[in-house]
Point group: D2
Chain length 190, copies 4
């Protein structure tokens, strides 16, 4: 499977505020430096819609265009900033990717549904990220509002759990995230 | 520790509809029979309020009067009926105990935060129920609406996680449920 | 999908000791009675072999013959007796199905990897058991010794996680347990 | 609460091999740089002993001397290196702190029992680390062999779960880890 440099998106400007305001600011050079020295912490979210008894009725997947112009399904994902809590990072990236009216319900438990380890070289582990060694905490997040994708996501597609788990959909996810989606949905009984 | 026959409440009439309408109906005699023959399946819920990032801000405990007239803190709890799913049982008991406007958010994951095993004789396990061998699936359930206790619960008291975990509060819960509350709240980082 | 009466096996004699020695004893008539009145509590186990860092290298599936003479893959499974803890029931059924030299490592956490609800009539839920309404607590259990199937299991087949998750294998499991195996293995990253 | 610079120990030489052999090598200056720019990923482990049915019988706590000469209870803990999997990091730190004959059983599930976020300034979150923003994945790890502490740990003390959870013991853990130990043990029903 090829490497997806778009699926864990580049830190957006909000991830890297001006040096004066945030000690966690990283220049391009610094970002390149740390990416070859340390595992980088990410959060990822699978947006879902629930019925009144908590059962998953729909799964939301982003449609993104990679730098190479390939269309791919993606999860909500982004880096945890210096000084930012995991909950704040999760909320920020959900708002960035789904818009301000999505009303995500961040889970009460801080323990993720799955953990995914991305390595820059192909190996035993299923997840691959050419740019870096990244560790992703993956959450399933119910969303109650309406989604209007922002940034580089073209749309949010809602589909049944069965459709999300079909071979066709899973194969449209890059970097091994088809498997990651399957594992995350298993945690909610799908 | 004394035994709490009120804390896992007696099956209410809704748990035992008339024989004609439900094959799961149990007469008093039959209930007594099965309680000494099989582990009985219960669900329990710790109602919580969350802030916008999913952090628990308040914990809701019921105040009940036991048959002996002792006031005790309790969780939402009740039996799973024949033919009823765990989600349905959880929703039904939350509605029974918190009223129809509580708007509980049943968790997407069917896996409980904790499992509690109650035995009719004191022993190695911390939970005791004189009437029966019961196995409880315990969930932490965010509640967004307003609660008006029904049935035999006198009130719902909302308190901070710290207050809920204080020795004073935990000791007001019977049958070992102080420990159970502590374990369930640990699953949401409290 | 047809119903597998072998997969959740009939309570064996050890599940029903003589009346004098155990209040939980159930005659055939009594078992038939409770099966149509209450959800019956089961435990199930997916035996696995781990490498030194805890990664699953092999999955063990039982090969059973159903009463109709159909060969089917199955998990270790059985009823929780009156007065028996979940851990004891898990250990007893692992020993019954894998033999006394399997040396299973019962997980430290009492919370199962998955919960499966079986209903006697086909419906929204994926799991089906014609005989009863059953609720199964499903655990993934590392096994370090050698397995010699006892009772009605013909053999234990060890296979790679990939092979266990292949369509071919999953379709050999009855009553919806192909899905259950997939969900349970997801909890260990497979 | 004071800050424990010993409890999340300084990266040992094995964490920082010579530049030639590992791209993840960090000089003192570089380590200081990244610690103020990125959340640093750690693993922590609570060593436990189990009985034959998986119940925790003993909890192992390290006794360390802080740079100030204060004795404190600590968990097994250390940084995840660039290019190293979480399982490998967990195994390496368990071996470093407990010796080569401890025979830890790394859990089959990669999902931790708890997640702890340490910030360099006191705030709403309970965990504090003056040197850095660190995110710890916390696991409960059964240990079957004999432990001989290495490095800066003076001894491993085995105690009952009740003793480990006593106010006396919890208060001997620095940086908020008394709470972390309580949360981690709750995941195994203690």
């Amino acid at each position: 499977m090829s490497i997806d440099t778009a699926d864990l998106p580049e830190p957006d400007p909000q991830d890297r505020p001006a040096p004066g305001s945030n000690p966690g600011w990283l220049s391009e050079d610094e970002l390149g430096f740390v990416r070859r020295r340390l595992p980088i912490l990410y959060v990822e979210a699978v947006p879902v819609r629930l019925d009144g008894t908590g059962r998953v009725t729909e799964v939301g997947l982003l449609l993104r265009s990679t730098p190479d112009g390939v269309m791919a399904r993606a999860l909500v994902a982004g880096r945890v900033r210096y000084g930012e809590s995991i909950r704040e990072a999760l909320f920020r990236h959900l708002e960035n990717d789904l818009g301000p009216m999505a009303f995500p319900q961040i889970p009460a438990s801080p323990v993720p549904a799955q953990i995914a380890e991305f390595f820059p070289v192909p190996g035993i582990l299923p997840y691959l990220d050419e740019r870096q060694h990244a560790v992703s905490l993956v959450y399933v997040v119910p969303v109650t509002g309406s989604c209007s994708p922002r940034q580089d996501a073209l749309e949010v597609t809602w589909m049944s759990p069965e459709e999300a788990l079909s071979e066709g959909t899973l194969s449209e996810m890059l970097g091994g995230r088809g498997k990651l989606l399957r594992l995350a949905l298993a945690s909610v009984g799908c």
